[in-house]
Symmetry: C2
Subunit: 137 residues, 2 copies
Amino acid sequence: MPTVGGVLETALYVEDLDRSVTFYRDLFGFEELLRDDRMAALSVAGRNVLLLFRKGGSTRPTETPGGDIPPHDGNGNLHLAFGIAAEDLEPWELFLAEKGVAIESKVQAPRGGHSLYFRDPDGHCVEVATPGLWAIY
Amino acid sequence: MPTVGGVLETALYVEDLDRSVTFYRDLFGFEELLRDDRMAALSVAGRNVLLLFRKGGSTRPTETPGGDIPPHDGNGNLHLAFGIAAEDLEPWELFLAEKGVAIESKVQAPRGGHSLYFRDPDGHCVEVATPGLWAIY
């Protein structure tokens, strides 16, 4: 049985690409890997890729020289979480306040990890979490 | 400016939790970290967490002893990608065929990485990709 090495790409669907790219770059410093009218790809700490797709912009196959990328699209207020170091919890709280991003909730997991929840410009539910949230983290 | 260490959790919203857990466990061997009526959490290679949420099951805050998890929900055919080793591309093709999962598209990226695209039971657009897809991968 072949294996996978981890999550490579996670995707959000957004109303306004510029607005979302600005939000994620300003707040997290993610480097832009690709940007066109349909999408943006941001590097998350050089480990994963956060894909931002313009809502409704990928409902047909995307033709590329190497083959067609199948259609996909999404709606709603999706959830994703980024890992942070335990010692960065307070700096993150201060930084979010400084950036005018309201913390919607602070949660302590049974294993001891701490999470901060806030919204991106589309109302997606973004979490930053310290170790102690999952058995593997 | 505080940093993040990577994507910890990525989420899909599904019609039938049992069906989706079975799909992802059978195909990828992901270990179950948590399972209740609302959601399942699966370990992706011990590095990331794939969250499967029952559609419509998280539209109110989820009360926990350590604080309330904010609401979120999603619709559509979302996209996510898992990284695989270059030498696992052909084994993945064979394994998908063996499992009766149709490959919707095979794509070669300009940098040389190869991707296989297929659908999960909700029509989410799942990709497995070898290195050479992004500048960071």
